[in-house]
Symmetry: D2
Subunit: 148 residues, 4 copies
């Protein structure tokens, strides 16, 4: 049964899908969505995929000696089609690779079936002092379940 | 029956309620939600209340001779409690007054029952050339239904 | 002599003036500056006035037992005229009142001589645990010099 | 002689350098600059390089039959080091290639001499109806002067 609000999207066969609405704040004076807004939408998709996998910011903050965090190390972005005010888009996120401190994800934003933007994202697990590290085993196992 | 995605919130007895999630983009280095993020959340609430009332940006753009738009003329903001990453908040929006070109709304952001921030918002209907004007009658009637 | 870059604005007779440029990120699909962008511009003005007065975030973080921070408690905003892409605006900030944990500021954004937006801002000094507190005497004295 | 404000940065030997300050709005709850903020900083650098080259948004809007615009088609981003509140960064922008409707730029954000983030950016010149097109000759010549 669906609960309301149903905000974190859904995972099916390892693919996470998050709907996002385009608001005023996401557009610019050329009348369409600002390219930087897609970067925020991609981050929402990654955060909610981890949330549904059971990996919460609070768990990370309390892990290890100093706490852990995810840091984006690189993104290759393609902007394929414009999106506009009132559009409902979906952010599709898939875990591509995961070894040691490194995680790779493939993401796509769509309007219906139409691809709007794509991202290849490289994320590192780091300690709060900035050093690359591994996830604790319990969190690692949750992440592993996303690699189909 | 609930459709997925269910993004525009709900109206009950003239009160519109929109759930929003706090993401990285909404926080700042002090660890909590940046006060400017609440201003964006309030705008999402107003946009989605109008959307559910049947007043779309496209209708406005095509109305009158030059197109119409809503312009925020003033906001009185109170920030009552901090909100943090991963919080699910709700934006509550109520039409308080509406005469001629002027609309007044009362808004509140809550976490569960706890009030987090409040806004009194004054909006004007303007032509694309910036002059105050009235809404066309059909849209006016839809807005009127929100004043309970 | 002017050093380059000259980013933090200037204080004269207690009035701080900060120039800001309007970029893509500040505009929305209606072609003008998004009202939430002015909230960010006002914050830049307050931060840089404090910076020039010698009150740095690092000083605050290291003050008291748990560190201190400024928290915005309320803002009354008026949006008077639209601003557009490429505009150079100035943010004018004046300390209006300061007693104990409370600071009040009056701010105005102008394009040349023309007022674009105004804000009355209420800020509290808080400990990192969220309790209102006083500034340490050394920082208090620096703030006092801004009240002309 | 330097005029105040001196906001658009400087061009020397084809390299544009723009100083930017890190404010509250650019940071997130992990205590450092949000990766999406660098995307905004890169855009400010590109806008101001074009501004100093004499290519203004107003010129573009009035060019051709329907007006022209720049659209970001792709970005490859690397995030090398964290930046924090109060940092003064510089955005370095260089035109790498320019043929027909396509422009390629290499950008780097530094703190002093230290590289913080890098971007390879692909931009297209498009009509307001979204079709790739060439710049008018006068603007083309101004852009050409940036390729050293």
């Amino acid at each position: 049964m669906t609960q309301w609000p149903d905000l974190a999207g859904r995972i099916q066969d390892g693919l996470h899908v998050l709907p996002v609405r385009v608001y005023y704040e996401d557009t610019d004076f050329t009348g369409i969505v600002y390219h930087g807004a897609f970067v925020r939408f991609f981050e929402r998709g990654r955060s909610d995929m981890l949330r549904l996998a059971g990996i919460h910011h609070a768990d990370l903050r309390d892990a290890g000696e100093s706490g852990l965090a995810f840091a984006v190390r690189g993104m290759d972005l393609e902007f394929l089609k414009p999106a506009t005010i009132d559009d409902v888009l979906t952010v599709h996120t898939r875990l591509v690779d995961h070894r040691g401190a490194r995680i790779e994800l493939a993401q796509e934003i769509r309007r219906g079936e139409e691809p709007i933007a794509r991202a290849q994202v490289r994320v590192a697990v780091i300690t709060m002092r900035g050093r690359p590290t591994r996830l604790p085993k319990a969190l690692e196992a949750r992440l592993q379940r996303l690699s189909v």
